[in-house]
């Protein structure tokens, strides 16, 4: 065990430490920018979400709101949470359990016209699966609220 070997061990520890620190700082910096945040329809208006920022929007698909565009592969619909609503447009094949009155999480961004352009729709995979963000929402309550507003 020479003094030089000890010196090298310190150098290596320092090197590993610097690399890890760089990784952590870089990660922290990138996460501030790149993490996409979850919003409910009522938050979108209240929090004034920037245009073109990657976000997730979650809520209920309003009954009677799903409309197919002429190209046959674009759907427009409205996501609501009882306190607010946002129009959404999505080009692609909708998930199997994407139906009116069910919960949905859409990944995408707001455009300048106030429409949410979804890149991806996460609906329920099966009866037992629920997008994580919707778990806290009381869907039945929202559904009732939404329905009562329609019938009035």
């Amino acid at each position: 065990m020479t003094v030089k070997a000890k010196h090298q061990r310190l150098t290596l520890i320092l090197l590993a430490f610097v690399a890890l620190l760089a990784a952590v700082l870089l990660a922290a910096y990138a996460l501030r920018d790149q993490a996409s945040y979850f919003y409910a329809p009522s938050d979108i208006a209240a929090k004034n979400v920037e245009v073109d920022r990657a976000i997730r929007l979650g809520g209920m698909v309003r009954r009677g709101s799903i409309a197919q565009a002429a190209d046959g592969v674009t759907v427009n619909f409205i996501v609501e949470d009882g306190k607010g609503s946002v129009p959404v447009t999505y080009r692609g094949i909708t998930p199997d359990l994407f139906v009116e009155g069910s919960g949905v999480v859409a990944e995408g961004r707001m455009n300048a016209n106030g429409i949410f352009v979804a890149d991806n729709l996460l609906a329920k995979h099966d009866e037992n699966y629920m997008p994580r963000e919707l778990e806290d929402m009381n869907l039945d309550e929202i559904k009732q609220q939404a329905e009562s507003t329609v019938t009035q």
Partner: protein, 649 residues
């Protein structure tokens, strides 16, 4: 009776692992030297008993014994045989039993096969293995008993999630688990070596095959899982940076680093404490992965348990094992003898760089995976995906590729810069030419796919340079293994970059009879037919795929399936694989006007991603065979060496 017998086997195995731990502990403490000889047989018997329990559970699933809760909840009498069998581990309890079975069996394997380790290190290693097993036995027996009976048998089972009803289920989970749990062996070796202060080249050579084995299985398990997700989910993607995927990637990154540092320790006697640390980190990542996947903290097709009690149980195990081993490390690391000093510009220098960069990538993936969980605990919901992982990971992955190109060419102990420059001239030239070609003909592609493509070409050439000037028949298998594994990385990278650079997608609403063009193909929708399988019915599109401008054509049949028991709709993509890419077709819904939604992709060279994964695994296998053969030859020498160390200690 079968369920009761299974439970009895499980309890007995748990009791034996306790005996194994106690016998090991006492004999190490010098208070029960007469106990030492029982440890190996006990470890072997424990492995056999837990395997018996697992076989009995498979038996219950094959018979669809509906008086057993687990079977009633997750199986169905009408399920095809393969899924009755593989469905054994398509649920929380069964998959945890698979986990401890593999752990028990690897304990048996150490006890049977490992003859090089000094006897006290061996005892400590088996005791550590038993210590880890006990926690998982307790988890199974107290909160996840797979053999629980129902008060009265269910009339029919609830079936298996249709997304899991795929041949992939028979292969992907066991492979990945062997990899995860195989790292527990490396962990036990590290703990054993720390306790008995026996970290050196002999120890590294003893540990290396286990690390290699675990790493091969992890590689294959991840490759299989990625391909399964690719064709089953129908989204055309092969990696989603889903936390569950990251949970398998993190142990792989740590195991890859460990594999390389073990090499330095075995060959040059350096990186002693670092190797021990990596072994601890690698298995910790396995356990973190298990925690993420099995605790119910994430919602996905992998997460079966939503019982918070189970989550806390796994978290407690995690804290005990990771915390305990880190404390042991902190106390003992300073007593590990200083390794040999080495020259930075050498093979071992490159391997150190490899380790540093892999660790940094591991850190980035770990932070990105845990960050959403942390912010959610504080009330903000966040999701972290490709926009974070791809660029941030690339910052460390790109230099990593350069080190990969140079490292295997460098000589151990020290090398000259001129030699390296001469040897790397060819790959550098190839990289430059590819860059030019892609810029001229490739159209506008992103910076990351561009770098990926050109570096893949350079790396592919650089990775075979170690074979230059060698008699190929006499080249050791371990060298072949390294070359093939590195080539596999280049091949996989090429597939990834090509997929993201040149992917073509067509999304249409199509009438029957319409034709569409995607990539080199012209596709005609001939008909939509109803079809039926054992436990599903489906609508099937009949599509003619013709290479544009030629007569050769084939029929592809994407389906939209409706499963009964449980009720669920899934889409089965149709794939057409060619040497230069894959055609990928998904059938969507019928619109009100009678048109059918079709989503069609041409993905150039996408299968290279999984060919690369297979090559990496094959490289590992060759290295394992080569190393083992060589180790058997030098075993006598090592045992003498080990005895001498024993006398000196």
């Amino acid at each position: 009776m079968i369920a009761e017998a299974g439970l009895a086997c499980l309890w007995l195995a748990a009791a034996l692992s306790l005996l194994q731990l106690l016998a090991g502990g006492f004999s190490l403490a010098g208070k029960g030297a007469q106990l030492a000889p029982v440890i190996r047989p006990v470890a072997i018997l424990q492995g056999l008993l837990v395997t018996a329990a697992f076989v009995l559970l498979i038996w219950l699933f094959l018979r669809t014994d509906l008086s057993v809760k687990l079977v009633a909840m997750n199986s169905h009498s009408a399920k095809p045989f393969l899924y009755k069998f593989a469905g054994t581990w398509g649920n929380h309890e069964g998959s945890m039993l698979l986990w401890v079975t593999i752990m028990g069996l690897s304990g048996s394997c150490i006890a049977l096969l490992e003859k090089r380790l000094r006897s006290d290190t061996m005892i400590a290693t088996l005791a550590a293995q038993a210590f880890v097993s006990i926690g998982f036995y307790a988890f199974l027996l107290f909160s996840s008993n797979p053999f629980e009976r129902l008060p009265s048998p269910a009339p029919e089972g609830q079936g298996l999630n249709p997304l899991l009803q795929d041949p992939g289920l028979a292969f992907h989970p066991p492979t990945l688990y062997i990899g995860y749990v195989g790292l527990s062996v490396a962990f036990s070796f590290a703990v054993g070596a720390l306790i008995t202060r026996n970290v050196g080249p002999v120890f590294a050579r003893a540990m290396r095959p286990w690390v290699l084995g675990a790493w091969i299985f992890l590689t294959l398990g991840i490759t299989a899982g990625s391909y399964w997700a690719y064709y089953e989910l129908g989204w055309g993607g092969w990696w989603f940076w889903d936390p569950v995927e990251n949970a398998s990637l993190m142990p792989w990154l740590a195991a890859t680093a460990l594999l390389h540092s073990v090499s330095v320790l075995a060959t040059r006697g350096a990186l002693r404490t670092w190797t021990i640390m990596l072994a601890v980190v690698a298995f910790s990542m396995s356990m973190v992965g298990t925690f993420l996947v099995r605790s119910g903290i994430l919602t996905s097709v992998h997460a079966f348990a939503v019982d918070p009690e189970r989550g806390s149980f796994i978290l407690a195990l995690l804290a005990i094992y990771i915390g305990g081993s880190l404390v042991l490390f902190a106390v003992r690391a300073s007593t590990v003898r200083e390794g040999t000093k080495f020259n930075y510009f050498s093979r071992e220098g490159a391997l150190v760089m490899n380790n540093v960069l892999l660790t940094a990538i591991l850190g980035i993936v770990l932070i990105g995976t845990l960050y959403p969980l942390l912010t959610e605990a504080m009330g903000t919901k966040v999701s972290v995906g490709p926009p974070y992982f791809n660029p941030v990971g690339a910052i460390f992955a790109l230099p990593m590729l350069l080190v990969m190109a140079a490292g295997p060419i460098l000589r151990w102990r020290g090398d000259s810069g001129r030699r390296l420059v001469n040897l790397l001239a060819l790959p550098a030239l190839a990289t430059a030419v590819t860059l030019l070609l892609v810029i001229i003909f490739g159209g506008s592609i992103g910076i990351l796919p561009l770098l990926g493509l050109v570096l893949a070409v350079g790396l592919a050439i650089a990775s075979v340079i170690p074979l230059f000037g060698r008699n190929l028949l006499r080249t050791p298998l371990s060298i072949w293994g390294m070359v093939i594994a590195h080539l596999g990385i280049a091949v996989a990278l090429f597939g990834m970059a090509s997929e993201s650079a040149f992917n073509q997608e067509v999304l249409v609403a199509s009438n029957v009879g319409d034709t569409h063009e995607v990539g080199p193909y012209t596709l005609t929708l001939n008909a939509i037919d109803p079809v039926a399988g054992p436990n599903w019915t489906a609508l099937e599109a009949n599509i003619t795929a013709q290479v544009t401008g030629s007569n050769a054509s084939e029929i592809i049949t994407p389906q939209s399936r409706n499963f009964t028991s449980p009720t669920m709709q899934t889409s089965e993509a149709a794939l057409l694989t060619r040497w230069n890419g894959q055609l990928y077709a998904v059938l969507g819904e019928e619109n009100d006007d009678g048109r059918w939604q079709l989503r069609l992709w041409w993905k150039p060279f996408v299968p290279f991603i999984w060919y690369g994964g297979l090559l990496i695994g094959l490289g590992g296998l060759l290295a394992l065979i080569g190393r083992t053969a060589r180790d058997i030859k030098r075993r006598r020498y090592d045992m003498q060496d080990s005895d001498m160390q024993g006398e000196a200690a």
